[in-house]
């Protein structure tokens, strides 16, 4: 099962210039539970996709919207020289094809 098959929104955005957040909004409770229990979404699995250590990534379940938030350190402060994505709005792509 791929994440893209059970999520209706997979988005990224800064939460301030030092933090990147990924929001995963699911179609239904079953998909949410499946994703929540998948090792592929745990910080230890997500961190290497973003060049980070596991302790720089936090997974936060958010039942009111059957959603998962993943908050992580930005490797470069937003908009500083060398950055590639000031708003952080295009950093979701490694998750699209993620196998759960």
């Amino acid at each position: 099962m791929k994440l893209i098959d059970i999520a209706r929104v997979i988005r990224s955005k800064n939460a301030g210039p030092t933090t990147l957040t990924l929001d995963l909004l699911f179609n239904d409770e079953a998909g949410y539970q499946l994703a929540l229990q998948s090792p592929a979404l745990q910080p230890a699995a997500i961190a290497p996709l973003y060049g980070l250590r596991a302790d720089q990534v936090e997974l936060i379940p958010y039942p009111p919207a059957i959603a998962i938030k993943i908050a992580m350190d930005r490797t470069i402060v937003a908009g500083n020289p060398g950055d590639r994505d000031v708003y952080g709005a295009q950093q979701h792509t490694p998750l699209l094809e993620l196998d759960l």
Partner: protein, 469 residues
């Protein structure tokens, strides 16, 4: 009677508060206010109108340079719309984070526009402005006494970061807005401010419970973004003080429906922590919030809690100039050059540094991005198959624009003609859609501060001044 006292009299009957209607005109004033929805909102007779102008999202340039992020013409148009609307029903208008970044140059630009509009439109009112520039000495003292800490992945703040910052602002909370309103303001234009403070200041001073008031502020500050489909239309929040307090969200565009799911999901947006919102005067906890569908269009929310802070804190934001930026822009369609591009660029940089050693004596930085391969995301490995075309952007940051442009120009020529193993297209490695392909883009900035500072005297940090127009 000043505006806030008039409002107090209007919503209070025998010590009981009636529902307070709050119109959010825009989450980003200056990019266009959809007029149909805004006018519908004004017809609902809100007790006050709020708009946010600010964000740190667009990066350090706007803060550092003092330039507003929105166009002059659109900003003036939006300000005219909301000023006319608020004055037509004689209610307070609260605008947060003037000019995107909210330092004095941004605030002064917006205040000048407001004075012009008032004169042209024949509007008369008391205008309060609140500055958010942090006193450098106070910040340095706080650094020395260990009262400043980083927000996320940024080094500890140093006194030299403070000195290097061209602008250094703090995010004001409800206290500053309340002081402006108590000084008799009809219109408040604030420098850097918490988005929530724009909408929670008035409910707070009238005695509405701060948990639901802050939660409402957090939801309505993006206008109709919390609905399905999300949009920029004005949103009406109605805050009820009964029980533990609750609020209703109601988009002023009938096609944008608020549901428990759409409003709850909005709490995730651009927040590192969906359960807590940290403000200068306390913390909003939304983990206990309840979302209920009222009808197909509206949603009712209750249950959020406000925890007052034992120590006031202020988020501080600074930007420092790093140099002048020039770009070299080109495309490439040769498969061999594309396959070798990640090796070609550092090799050309080495050549360029040698060639310019005598002509460009200052230090400069070079950043290359190959769109099609790794321009957007820092992929750990190259793609399985190379793209048919790529776009190459070479960025030079030097101390002067002339030096940056000089390096970009030399880089262009040597990238065009660089020889690499297996090259068969010896006419040139690049396609330029036009010339010159070198562009000078102006000063480049970095965030020098994104920290939180303990503060005891908030009024000293956010001074209010009032004028009569």
């Amino acid at each position: 009677m000043i505006a806030i006292e008039k409002l107090r009299a209007e919503v209070t009957t025998a010590n009981v508060l009636s529902p307070l209607r709050v119109l959010s005109a825009s989450g980003q004033l200056g990019y266009g206010v959809p007029e149909t929805a805004f006018n519908e909102g004004v017809k609902r007779k809100p007790h006050f109108i709020g708009c946010d102008m600010g964000s740190i999202d667009p990066g350090p340039y706007y803060l550092g340079s003092g330039q507003i992020a929105t166009s002059d013409a659109q900003t003036r148009g939006d300000l005219t719309t909301v000023l006319r609307g608020a004055r037509s029903i004689d209610v307070p208008l609260i605008i947060g984070t003037a000019g995107c970044a909210g330092a004095s140059p941004h605030l002064d630009t917006v205040l000048a526009m407001v004075r012009d509009i008032a004169r042209e439109e024949g509007l008369h009112f008391k205008l309060a402005s609140i500055r958010a520039d942090m006193p450098r000495d106070a910040v340095k003292r706080a650094i020395r006494s260990g009262k400043v800490r980083p927000l996320g992945a940024i080094p500890a703040l140093t006194e030299s970061d403070v000195d290097a910052s061209t602008q250094l602002v703090g995010q004001m909370g409800i206290e500053a807005f309340q002081r402006a309103l108590n000084a008799g303001a009809d219109v408040v234009i604030a420098g850097r401010a918490c988005d929530t403070a724009v909408y929670a200041a008035i409910p707070g001073m009238l005695g509405y419970p701060l948990g639901p008031a802050m939660h409402m502020a957090k939801i309505v500050e993006c206008a109709s973004l919390c609905t399905t489909p999300g949009g920029r239309d004005a949103l009406l929040g109605t805050l009820d003080a009964q029980g533990n307090g609750s609020f209703i969200v109601d988009s002023m565009n009938p096609i944008r429906n608020a549901s428990p799911m759409s409003v709850a999901a909005h709490s995730l947006y651009e927040q590192g922590d969906p359960y807590r919102v940290y403000e200068p005067e306390g913390t909003l906890h939304v983990d206990t919030a309840r979302y209920e569908q009222l009808d197909v269009h509206r949603c009712c929310i209750s249950g959020a809690r406000w925890e007052p802070a034992t120590q006031f804190t202020v988020k501080i934001e600074g930007a420092a100039k790093v140099g002048e930026r020039a770009l070299m822009l080109a495309g490439c369609a040769d498969p061999r050059a594309i396959a070798a591009m990640k090796e070609i660029l550092p090799a050309v940089e080495k050549t360029v540094r040698e060639l310019t050693a005598k002509t460009v004596t200052e230090k400069f930085e070079v950043y290359h991005r190959v769109y099609g391969i790794d321009g957007v995301f820092n992929w750990p490995s190259p793609p399985a198959t190379m793209p048919r075309e790529v776009f190459v952007m070479v960025e030079i940051i030097a101390q002067t624009a002339a030096a940056a442009k000089s390096v970009a120009t030399v880089f262009k020529q040597f990238l065009l003609h660089h020889g690499f193993p297996g090259r068969i297209s010896t006419g040139g490695n690049l396609a330029f859609p036009f010339t010159p392909p070198e562009v000078v883009t102006g000063p480049a900035y970095r965030f020098s501060a994104y920290h939180v500072m303990e503060a005891n005297d908030l009024p000293a940090l956010f001074p209010v001044s009032v004028e009569s127009l």
